[in-house]
Amino acid sequence: MPETMTAPEPVMDTQPKAQELSLQGALNLALDEILAEDPKALVLGEDVGTLGGVFRVTSGLAAKHGAERVFDTPLAESGILGMSIGLAMAGFHPIPEVQFDGFAYPAVNQIVCQLGRMNYRSRGTLPMPVTLRVPSFGGIRAPEHHGESLEALFAHVPGLKVVSPSDPQQGYSLLKAAARMPDPVIFMEPKSRYWQKGLVTSTESPADVSGARIARPGKHLTLVAWGAMVSRCIQVAELAAEDGIDIEVLDLRWLKPIDAEALATSVGKTRRAVVVHEAPRTSGLGAEVAQIIIERCFGTLKAPVERVTGFDVPYPSGDLEDEYIPNIDRILFGIQRVLEYKRG
């Protein structure tokens, strides 16, 4: 995006430099600026127009940027993705939304076989600057299929980049960065964090958005997390600090490509790691993270990397979700197992 383009007009505030915003508000601001700065940007999906999205992330955008640029589609996710691919071929930069994680499944064929491959198949002549927004993960006592974590699936797909913000600042910066990329990005928004507020500074530099970030420095053990699990891990670290255990929380942010250097640096220092995610354990992204750590830190690691994850069961109904999602106790148990590990 050339810096000389029309200045952004933020929706939420008249003072754009640093403001208190919810994640939802920060994403809305980012989309507003993207639409203002990039005439080829489009927002499409179910209920994203007049309604402004079921989570209001696209609220006000159709009124401001026009019903042609922010538009409702019929209720068909494969259609939304397939149409976005065609729009990208026509020179647009579509930002489609699927309404909930679980409704990305009907679009998997278009995502895997088309979105992730068109650049390759066309030998780089048909790039796919598409940012797919997916309200993701659980924790809101929602109906079935509204609490899924698809990062392991997406991260395995060649040709996709995958990112998940953990707070309003991350949401703002990462969404703006994703929308500028010439490659497809799956943008996984932690829906349980939509209404959490935080300070958002609307300047960006590439360093702000690439790779992982240390959400809390520490020296005894590295907790690796993304999305909604980051703030939970910070909570856990604070609890552990009371017992004199100094935990580093690494907010992975990019789930593909994974920032192997950051993992190696952190665990190289702490020599112990626990990875936390909501998705089922088997073949989850935690295995990849653990492997990356072990490949780089095998010689110095004090214990195997522990995984604290969802179980290998369908995401349960609200009453059981606190049992399913890694809770503070389960994360603490995992930490304990690592700290107490004795080489057999």
Partner: protein, 341 residues
């Protein structure tokens, strides 16, 4: 072949519709009171739901609802506490037994079970080895909305059903909206029923707020399928008088005036007037039905209040018929950590 709608049918429709209305209204208030975290009202769709459900025989047929079919479930005899357990966030799909009741679990994926109905229906013809049994085929009825009709699966289902001549009824509740998107931005051509012709499937569009008309149309469709003539489509034109769900704010996409104009006369009022006009029952009987509906809602409320969470162990136990070692390991670990914490 099809039973005409009798006066007694009208009264039965009313009895069920008023019960459904009371339950539905009650569920909204339960949500406001925090008893259930969320609910998707069916306000205004009682005629479409009860009218269609009365046309099937759950002793032999099989019903595939979406997430909004309280009225269908009630009319098919599903226990309402077990039904509402879904909205109390106790178990996705509900606590009732679908195999026994012949009502499939709640389906939260739009159009998710449309193909299942086709498969189940084809199973009936396989069981009959191609010969239509004397009593006809058992029939599947699958519910879908105007929004759901946009899903690719609906096309695949209609095409499969027609190719296999499966005894299945596609019952479309065209209630004007898919959350905030009106039918005219959703259903190209304006009618889901109109798509039937392209597959050679007979289709009927019916006033979905006229209970007797829905009952009759669905009886015809079921009879068609039962007789071995293959699938049929019924599109009931109705109106979602309430919000999409308790979290929705329809004011963002339609005005109250529009609601009033588009909603028309309440289907329950219409049925009541017809019953009184035709003297199928008197006002006292209908009032009694209303009262009994209210009492039922209150009883369901008590049932829901009493309903506890399911044990966490069920997360592991119900994944498979034959659990895996890894799941048992995870369960043991979960149990141990839960006990410790």
């Amino acid at each position: 072949m099809v039973d005409p709608v009798a006066p007694s049918d009208l009264v039965e429709l009313y009895r069920l519709m008023t019960a459904v209305r009371q339950l539905d209204l009650a569920a909204i208030s339960w949500q406001r009171q925090g008893l259930v975290p969320a609910y998707a009202p069916e306000l205004g769709q009682e005629a479409a739901q009860v009218g269609s459900a009365l046309a099937v025989d759950v002793c032999r047929d099989f019903v595939f609802p979406t997430y909004r079919e309280l009225g269908v479930a009630r009319a098919c005899g599903v226990d309402m506490v077990e039904y509402m357990s879904t909205h109390k966030a106790i178990w996705h799909g509900g606590l009732w037994n679908p195999a026994e009741t012949h009502v499939a679990p709640i389906q939260a994926v739009v159009a998710g079970s449309v193909l299942h109905a086709v498969g189940w229906a084809h199973g009936q013809t396989l069981d009959a080895h191609g010969e239509v049994p004397e009593a006809g085929y058992n029939v599947a009825i699958t519910y879908l909305g105007d929004g759901a009709s946009s899903q690719g699966d609906v096309h695949e289902a209609m095409n499969f059903a027609a190719i296999f001549k499966a005894p299945v009824v596609f019952f479309v509740q065209n209630n004007g909206w898919a959350i905030s998107v009106p039918t005219e931005k959703q259903v190209a051509g304006g009618s889901v029923a109109a798509r039937g012709a392209g597959y050679g499937i007979p289709a009927i569009q019916v006033d979905g707020n006229e209970a007797a008309a829905v009952l009759e149309a669905t009886r015809r469709a079921v009879a068609h399928a039962r007789a071995g003539h293959g699938p049929a489509i019924v599109e009931a034109m109705t109106y979602r008088r309430g919000p999409h769900a308790t979290s929705d704010d329809p004011g963002r996409y339609r005005t109250l005036d529009e609601e009033r104009a588009d909603g028309g006369t309440d289907p329950l009022v219409r049925l009541r007037e017809r019953i009184l006009a035709e003297a199928a029952a008197d006002a006292a009987a209908l009032d009694a039905a209303d009262a009994s509906g209210k009492a039922e809602a209150e009883a369901v409320r008590e049932g829901i209040m009493a309903l506890g969470s399911r044990p966490g162990a069920e997360m592991f136990d119900l994944v498979f018929q034959e659990p895996t070692d890894e799941l048992l390991r995870q369960k043991a670990n979960w149990q141990e950590e839960t006990d410790h914490a």
